[in-house]
């Protein structure tokens, strides 16, 4: 019995090698299908992981409230001084009324130019509280961060982000020196470690970079700079009065996040006539990202399934042609004693060989997704940089992650496809009348 199977396989391979190019092209169809299952799933997984990481970097426990400049038709006729955004009173109210809030940070930030001796560097001045570092996951490299005492006494102290520190102080040790911001001087307390930028996830939260930050106590900022910011715009001055740029709330437990977020929204709504703030809940985004990911996988799977289907149709096509071409051989074999089952087995073995070879090479091809995709992106970057620039950043930078279960899945599907699409031609071959098959020219 095993010998017969061995002979059948041997014969199948032999028959396939009779038409090497034809067999190769058929295998190619299955190869592409199998590889694309692994590829598409790996790319999808890479992108969604990246998105998830970015959202997680905002903190699943956090709720972020930011001031948003209302659209100009709403602010029409409000005069020269545009006043909007979250208020210190909002901060107090949220601080006092919501028990599930574990930490609450008021933040005021603005673009500023920082100077030391003759060097000038553009950056972001961030007025914050001591908890800011912890909640935003910033770590001190040297020196120290702002303390409660600094906050209480409104000291002219500052802490620098790593990148800004090296640019402003390429030669000197910044700690203890004074950084100039407009007319004021701030003594450098410490330097932070570098941190990857957080996600731009649309809505009220653009991508944040922490490279060019200078942190000072928020009380000092209120004292020295105040709420009003003047910007020169096309000849005329524009003034904006904003009390807080952002409030970051950290909820005690993840299960309370959504409820707390509702409470925050309600509280703010009651005191704001216009929508001059936005509430971002990373957890919500995280859950959205999960559904998006599922959709993505389904979509990708669909594309892969179609390519496998095409591969399967290729197999069927070739096998039907082969069966017609070998009608006479089928007649001879039947006359010499082959049962219908023997004929089915013979042709099925051929399709299984085709699809297995396609499946194995397809899996190998699928595993190359990382390096090959890098090559493709690099080539695109070289030949059509403008097209590349238009691609979303997440697609340009995501590295594919091979999903382990996609390998047996892709292989299994390709072999199954081979059997399904090979069955019909094989049965057709077996159903032939031996006498007629023998007469076939």
């Amino acid at each position: 019995m095993t010998f017969l199977w061995f002979r059948t396989w041997q014969l199948g391979v032999k028959s396939l090698l009779l038409h090497p190019l034809r067999s190769l092209l058929t295998v190619l169809g299955i190869f592409i299908g199998t590889a694309s299952v692994i590829w598409l799933l790996a790319i999808g997984e890479g992108i969604s992981r990246k998105a998830q990481e970015q959202i997680e970097s905002l903190g699943a426990n956090n709720i972020i409230v930011r001031s948003i400049k209302p659209p100009s038709e709403v602010t029409e006729g409000m005069g020269r001084l545009l006043s909007y955004g979250i208020l210190r009173n909002d901060y107090e109210r949220l601080h006092e009324t919501i028990p599930t809030v574990e930490r609450i940070l008021p933040i005021r930030e603005m673009r500023r130019r920082f100077g030391f001796s003759s060097r000038m560097v553009d950056g972001r001045l961030v007025g914050c509280t001591p908890q800011y570092a912890e909640v935003t996951r910033l770590e001190v490299d040297r020196g120290r961060f702002i303390s409660d005492g600094d906050l209480r006494d409104r000291h002219n102290y500052c802490v620098l982000a790593a990148d800004l520190a090296t640019r402003l102080f390429p030669f000197e040790d910044p700690i203890g020196r004074s950084v100039r911001v407009e007319r004021d001087y701030y003594v450098v307390l410490g330097v932070m470690k570098p941190r990857a930028p957080s996600a731009g996830i649309g809505g009220s939260l653009a991508a944040q970079e922490f490279d060019n930050d200078v942190y000072i106590p928020i009380t000092t900022l209120w004292n020295r700079i105040g709420d009003t910011v003047f910007t020169a715009r096309s000849g005329s001055f524009e003034a904006e009065q904003i009390e807080l740029s952002q409030i970051t709330l950290r909820v005690d437990e993840v299960k309370n996040v959504l409820e707390t977020a509702d409470l925050v929204k309600e509280t703010l709504e009651r005191y704001h006539r216009i929508k001059d703030y936005g509430v971002t809940v990373p957890l919500e985004l995280l859950e959205q990202a999960r559904t998006t990911r599922l959709m993505f996988i389904i979509f990708m799977g669909l594309i892969a399934a179609i390519s496998l289907l095409v591969g399967g149709i290729g197999i069927m096509n070739i096998m039907l042609a082969t069966v017609t071409e070998r009608t006479r051989e089928i007649g001879i074999r039947r006359a010499l004693g082959a049962k219908r089952g023997d004929i089915i087995r013979q042709f099925l073995v051929e399709t299984i060989v085709l699809s297995t070879v396609g499946g194995i090479t397809g899996v190998l091809g699928g595993l190359t997704v990382g390096p090959v995709l890098r090559l493709i992106l690099a080539a695109l970057e070289k030949t059509t940089p403008q097209v590349m620039a238009q691609l979303p950043e997440i697609i340009r930078t995501a590295t594919p992650v091979i999903v382990p279960w996609s390998i047996p899945l892709a292989f299994g599907i390709s072999v199954t496809i081979g059997i399904i699409f090979g069955l019909y031609p094989a049965r057709r071959a077996a159903a032939m009348d031996p006498i007629e098959a023998l007469r076939h020219e």
Binding site: F3, I332, A335, L336, G337, K339, R340, I435, L438
Partner: protein, 225 residues
């Protein structure tokens, strides 16, 4: 003497759109073991139809067919395949070797479908190849052989399973007269050694080499010699 094949009042009808073709209309025939029968008759008289029935490639519309002591009249498709694999050897007019197989592999095919393959089977096939004078061409493909050589391979193949009888439908139809004579000589020799042979032929000269001739006309046997 037991008979290799026994056909009793067999009819064969083909139903088609244009009506029914009665290819055989009551044929009775007994072929004892060791016989050499030539079936002759004009074209369309039903020679091939009768041979196909004897070869278990088809079933009669009515009547009875016995091969040895086995009634094959109502056998299933798989049973017919088994009988073909173990008891019948075919030789066709157009040789019908399998092109992708070598000479030796072609000879082995019937054994393969018998579901057995022992080392003495291989030896037997080699002997058969030698008997038909092709032991030096074992690894060749059919396309590398002449018509006569191909027919020799086919004869060797038909004997691989040690059949009850050999069925030959115009075995020399595609060959020149010299080669045809050689093939016929081989058949006579085989018959001499005890093989039962049933052969269909057009030519009286060829028919005379058999032990007896059966004349078919319009699906019926005319005379027996």
């Amino acid at each position: 003497m037991t008979s290799a094949a026994c056909v009793q009042d067999v009819t064969k009808e083909y139903r088609m759109d244009g009506g029914t073709v009665r290819a055989l209309r009551g044929v009775s025939l007994e072929v004892p073991e060791g016989d050499y029968v030539a079936i002759m008759g004009p074209s369309g008289s039903g020679k091939s139809t009768l041979l196909n029935l004897l070869g278990c490639l088809d079933r009669p519309t009515s009547g009875r067919i016995m091969l040895g002591d086995k009634d094959v009249t109502r056998a299933s498709d798989d049973q017919l395949s088994e009988i073909r694999a173990s008891r019948i050897g075919f030789v066709f007019q157009s040789y019908n070797l399998i092109p992708q197989l070598t000479v030796l592999e072609n000879i082995e095919v019937p054994l393969y479908y018998q579901g057995r393959f022992a080392s003495d089977d291989r030896r037997r096939c080699l002997e058969l190849a030698e008997m038909v004078g092709l032991s030096d061409r074992l690894k060749h493909r059919p396309t590398q052989l002449s018509g006569g050589q191909q027919q020799r391979v086919a004869i060797a193949r038909s004997l691989a399973n040690d059949p009850y009888f050999m069925l030959a439908d115009e075995p020399t139809g595609n060959l020149d007269s010299v080669t045809a004579a050689e093939i016929l000589e081989l058949l006579v020799e085989l018959n001499h050694n005890g093989k039962t042979i049933i052969m269909v032929t057009h030519e009286t000269d060829i028919g005379r080499q058999a032990k007896r001739i059966i004349q078919l006309k319009d699906g019926m046997i005319l005379e027996k010699e």
